[in-house]
């Protein structure tokens, strides 16, 4: 019911209410990112709920006219990062640093046919995305699925532009290599 309160219904809606409606319209995007970050439905739901709690509480700090979805992503990113930082252990975080360094020196030299990606199955794509280290998965997701600008991604992830560029580049490269390998492995390893 709340979600149906639209801008154009001609009724007076308080700024808070309008903000709520506008913010809630992004629930699928937030859930999608949360799911990609956590790879766990229950945790993703917690993350989204916590994001809305904080967003609604900080509603007055949102500057109207700026990109609401990117602002919500920033909150979600921070909640997630704080949890990860303080978790007893965070093996994936460590792994991603290692991969980041390793990938810096890695330039794949195979030249697979272009058809490959067109023939990728959704499930394989999901699997490959989930296999990416967090920071690369998030950068690629924000860019290619959510279509945020580089500067917005930098603000969401709180990193400089150069890092955004390299994370997107390496994330896509890794994804490409994974999909290529997945296909080459089809019928052999699976």
């Amino acid at each position: 019911m709340v979600l149906r309160l639209g801008r154009r219904e001609g009724r007076r809606v308080s700024p808070d209410e309008q903000f709520r409606v506008d913010a809630l319209a992004h629930v699928n995007s937030l859930y999608g990112l949360a799911l990609r970050l956590t790879r766990n439905r229950a945790t993703a739901e917690d993350l989204v709920q916590e994001t809305y709690l904080r967003a609604f509480q900080a509603a007055s700090r949102f500057e109207p006219g700026t990109h609401l979805k990117a602002w919500l992503f920033t909150i979600l990113h921070n909640v997630h990062r704080n949890l990860r930082r303080s978790a007893a252990r965070s093996p994936v975080e460590v792994a991603s640093d290692v991969v980041e360094r390793a990938e810096a020196t890695h330039m794949a030299d195979e030249d697979p046919e272009r058809q490959l990606l067109r023939e990728t199955l959704d499930t394989d794509l999901q699997e490959a995305l989930d296999a990416l280290p967090d920071v690369f998965r998030q950068a690629v997701w924000l860019r290619d699925v959510e279509e945020l600008a580089y500067a917005e991604i930098g603000r969401v992830m709180d990193v400089p532009m150069g890092t955004v560029m390299s994370r997107i580049a390496r994330g896509r490269r890794m994804l490409y290599d994974l999909l290529t390998r997945q296909r080459e492995g089809d019928g052999v390893t699976r």
Partner: protein, 250 residues
Amino acid sequence: MSKCRELEERLAPFVDGELPPDAQAEVEGHLEKCPPCRDTVRAQADCRALLRDRAARLRCAAPDGLVARCSALKCGSSSARRRTWLPATLAASVLLTLGGVTLYGLTATSGRVLAAQLALDHVKCRTLQHDPPAGTLEPTEAAARFARDYGWKVAVPAAPPDEDARFICVRRCMYMRGRVAHVMYGVGDRVVSLFVIPLAESPPADLAILGQRARAWSDGRQTYAIIADLPQERVARLTQYFSTELARGP
């Protein structure tokens, strides 16, 4: 080759049209004479195209329950806004209070402070969950999943075998920076929370707080707390049961 390395970082923004015109032209010039970089650009473009093409299907819809819970959250009232923040809802007040005491609680020796925080979290979870369903997992499966997701082995006791009790779920508490495991049970129509906190020292506490009964104890390795809206004797019985179960280890 050094040119390739120099331009490497720009190939993704090149594909995305995020480079200033002169840099864009410089990359174009280089690509004309460098097949390896052309391949890199092609891989970038293919990935981008694939993800955009599948975006709608990748972004799965948020579950109805989540949408309902988020829709039930409120913004601070307009008068609260002027004062920066003032809780307009229970959830908001829980968040606010926890924000103030959370960090203190983990290092404090005060059982009361700890109990207050946990009671708040218990109330928040119970409120936000709206009639939490019985879990679909057995406690042992839930514990294994928790260990896999968070790298933290937490003993999740079975529901007390007495009247109408069932295991609901184990989740990582979003407050206290995620260092608390929150196990929920349904006992009759009430929710009972068992918290497991990696804090070795905490004096025992047995108190009424925020309309809840709270009992906390420590086994020298971890601290546990039970919070429930149940009479003192009932909570004492539950404490007896859980402390015995937990002493057996995971």
